[in-house]
């Protein structure tokens, strides 16, 4: 559905997007992930036909974004960053105006407005002036606008930025429910969001694709180094020694907490020492009150890719 080939965008001397290529298949939800300034917004603006590319080719539904701009814009619903709206209009006025711009008229326009107002739960605020709505509701208005003309492709730039947790959950649910009818490309710098919503993730860093794959697959990249945490009741030095004796343990550190030792073991790639650790504790007659393996999650992949040191999280 979306086909990007060696896309490059330069602003003067700075290169915002550097020779990236990717494809999004029909019905997929793909997340663009990256720190601020990684080139997410620039990429999306090019896809939406707002900015021209310096080099490369972008086609959406087989149409070139640059030469067939109007036809492409008819097929995409775009929610820009920060969701700019006319604050002086009422929600239904705004949606009617946008619908007309997108070529909807008469009965069909009314039906579509009714649909999107329902889907985005805006029914009660339909007559409110947009400027008086909370950020979350404004975001819904923007999303309703993007959905209005039933586009094949949705391009959402930071759709949940600035929302409270409830609103975020709602918007996420909404986006997930859209996947059956639309192809969705969304950007975010918040990892759990992408992890929760997207089937595939592209990590952008300094204008390049640093990694791509399903959230699980990306986490697998770091899974080689499993970290096992355990709390064992025993003498510190003995515990440490026993843990280091387990095959596959690279390093074991104990942190005393009363009579208990909080142990952290870094293991070799592909080994899981939890069973062996339990056996070692049982053999020595130590009590064990906690044992868990910490898997790398997307956050670690992200940190590793973008060159920031990060502690492995838990999953």
């Amino acid at each position: 559905m979306i086909y990007v080939e060696s896309l490059t965008k330069r602003f003067g001397r700075t290169t915002a997007v550097d020779n990236i290529s990717f494809q999004v298949k029909e019905g997929e939800i793909v997340g663009l992930l990256g720190p601020n300034g990684a080139g997410k917004t620039t990429t999306m603006r090019i896809l939406a036909g707002y900015l021209p590319a310096t080099g490369g080719r972008v086609t959406i539904a087989g149409l070139d974004v640059f030469t067939k701009s109007l036809a492409v814009r008819q097929r995409i619903g775009y929610l820009p960053e920060n969701c700019p709206l006319y604050g002086d209009m009422r929600v239904h006025e705004y949606l009617r105006y946008r619908g007309r711009l997108k070529g909807l008229h008469g009965r069909r326009l009314r039906a579509r407005i009714d649909d999107v107002v329902g889907a985005c739960e805006l029914r009660e605020s339909a007559r409110t002036v947009i400027g008086r709505l909370s950020k979350g509701f404004q975001q819904r208005v923007g999303l309703a606008d993007a959905l209005l003309h039933e586009p094949d492709v949705l391009i959402l730039d930071e759709p949940t930025i600035g929302l409270d947790p409830n609103q975020i959950r709602h918007i996420r649910g909404l986006i997930r429910s859209l996947a059956s009818r639309h192809t969705v490309l969304l950007s975010s710098h918040i990892l759990p969001e992408v992890e929760a919503v997207c089937e595939r993730v592209l990590i952008l860093h300094e204008g390049r694709i640093a990694a791509s794959g399903t959230p699980g697959k990306l986490a697998d990249l770091l899974q080689g180094h499993l970290t096992v945490m355990a709390e064992i009741r025993g003498e510190r030095r003995a515990v440490e020694q026993a843990l280091r004796g387990i095959p596959g343990v690279l390093e074991a550190i104990c942190d005393p907490e009363g009579e208990w030792q909080r142990c952290t073991c870094r293991c070799e790639e592909g080994t899981d020492i939890r069973e062996a650790l339990f056996a070692a504790a049982a053999q020595n007659g130590w009590r064990l009150r906690e044992l868990r393996g910490a898997r790398a999650n997307l956050e670690d992949v992200f940190a590793a890719m973008t060159g920031e040191a990060g502690e492995p999280g838990e999953s």
């Binding site: 814009r73 700019p84 709206l85 002086d88 711009l101």
Partner: protein, 243 residues
């Protein structure tokens, strides 16, 4: 064509959604009619026609009105980011420029209409003025409408070139005030150019029209000027696709 009307309607309603529109209208009507009244009093007993006094008074304040109306056209959309939503909708650049232009011009004409009430009102109130020539009012009105069409197109182009409304306002006002200089430059200009400056002197056009003389030269000047400004605006808006 449909998107042109949609944008035109949105621009016009946007004017009336903000209090700025009402303030602008009231202030303009007061200033123009006050100037008119002052002009009539000063010329009491003189040979000046009421119509020409009226049109010159409106014309005097017109740059301010055009500036206030046009400064926000694109500058505001650029600043608030709504230009991005507008330009990623399936509308072509021409429809955006013409729609916005038509909306602003319509609003300006709506603002001018109440000021026209000054002339008949004066005729009713003062027995000294027996008749007001309807023909000269019509021709003068046409000239004023065309002049404002031209000026609004200049304001639109200036607004398109900047992100800041204040910058847009100052630039637009300066450009619109240039013609006022022409009539004073006449005597200083090198020989031969005086006639050209005279052709360009907007005040001359207005005064001539207010006498009921329909000269086609200024009509062509304003018409072609407007088309040129709008053509340039469409190209400027398109230019973000080349950069």
């Amino acid at each position: 064509m449909r998107s042109f009307f949609t944008i035109w309607r949105r621009e016009l309603t946007a004017c009336f959604l903000s209090p700025v529109a009402y303030v602008t209208m009231v202030v303009f009507v007061l200033l123009a009619n006050w100037t008119f009244l002052e002009a009539v009093e000063r010329n009491a007993g003189g040979a000046a026609s009421v119509a020409s006094l009226y049109f010159v008074s409106v014309f005097f304040w017109l740059p301010v009105l055009v500036t206030v109306i046009t400064m926000r056209l694109f500058a505001e959309e650029r600043r608030s980011g709504t230009l991005e939503t507008l330009m990623t909708a399936p509308v072509d650049d021409g429809a955006v420029v013409w729609g916005k232009y038509a909306g602003a011009w319509t609003f300006l004409l709506i603002t001018l209409v109440p000021t026209a009430a000054g002339v008949p009102l004066l005729a009713v109130l003062s027995p000294g003025i027996r008749t007001v020539d309807a023909g000269s009012l019509a021709v003068g009105g046409l000239m004023l409408a065309l002049l404002s069409a031209f000026w609004v197109s200049i304001g639109l182009l200036v607004s398109l070139l900047t992100k800041n409304q204040i910058v847009a306002a100052i630039c637009c006002f300066c450009v619109l005030c240039l013609p006022f200089l022409f009539q004073y430059l006449g005597p200083l200009a090198p020989p031969g150019s005086g006639r050209v400056l005279d052709y360009l002197s907007i005040e001359t056009h207005i005064v001539e029209a207010a006498r009921g003389v329909l000269d086609t030269r200024p009509l062509v000047l304003y018409g072609s000027g407007t088309l040129f400004m709008l053509f340039t605006s469409v190209r400027v808006l398109e230019s973000r696709r080349w950069r």
